[in-house]
């Protein structure tokens, strides 16, 4: 891990990780609060996209590009989950 290098890239990676964690918490708050179901679906989609960003930053920090395959899979599965939620919401009707 190159977090302790002291170089500019290491400091940037630390700051980026902190900011991404704060963003994850924001999305989590909307997931808990969100008054309707589509609010929560949108927050979950955003959460998955941010996790893909975290995977990208982690793969820079650990100097190994092996985790990018899981980023591809996560993007695919989150899209499918969002589409499934949307169809379920539309079929369920007004509530």
């Amino acid at each position: 891990m190159i977090f302790d290098d002291g170089s500019l890239l290491a400091a940037t990676l630390t700051a980026v990780m902190v900011i991404l964690t704060i963003s994850l918490f924001c999305s989590l708050i909307r997931l808990i609060i969100g008054p309707t179901l589509p609010d929560r679906v949108v927050a979950l989609d955003q959460f998955a996209t941010m996790v893909v960003g975290v995977i990208a930053v982690y793969s820079i920090a650990s100097q190994s590009p092996a985790m990018l395959r899981s980023a591809i899979v996560l993007a695919l599965v989150s899209f499918l989950g969002t589409v499934a939620f949307a169809r379920y919401t539309e079929k369920r009707g007004t509530r």
Partner: protein, 135 residues
């Protein structure tokens, strides 16, 4: 040089992601929150993935990151459209400051179709002739 480019792309991507996260907290309406998600988050993920591609400088890694970016550009509009349509048709409350609702009288609430939509149907022919006519 590569390190400076990586740092710049990382910071740009993170700023877009932070803007998207603040947007989903502070926007008053579901349809506005969706703007923060799809537009801002997609650009943030693109920035971070481009930083990975620049940092590693290998063909396999660049190919995989470009694949994820292309996938995001293809599927984020589809997902946003489907959720927006499902939320609108099931009656999600719009923001109180909405000026006018362009779709308000123009759709069929039980079949979830617009009034200008005409299904391709055979009017009085037999059941054997069921090839749809394209208008």
């Amino acid at each position: 040089m590569r390190e400076i480019l990586t740092v710049a792309l990382l910071l740009i991507g993170t700023m877009f992601m932070l803007v998207g996260a603040i947007g989903i907290l502070r926007m008053p309406d579901l349809l506005s929150r969706m703007q923060a998600t799809t537009k801002s988050m997609t650009l943030g993920a693109v920035g971070l993935l481009l930083a990975v591609a620049v940092h590693f400088d290998q063909v396999g890694v660049t190919f995989r990151t470009v694949l994820v970016i292309a996938f995001y550009f293809l599927t984020a509009p589809i997902a946003a459209h489907m959720i927006g349509r499902a939320a609108y048709f099931t009656g999600v409350p719009l923001w109180s400051g909405t000026l006018f609702d362009e779709l308000s009288g123009k759709y069929d609430p039980s079949a979830h179709t617009l009034d200008s939509f005409e299904p391709v149907s055979s009017d009085d022919s037999s059941a054997a002739a069921d090839t749809p006519e394209t208008p």
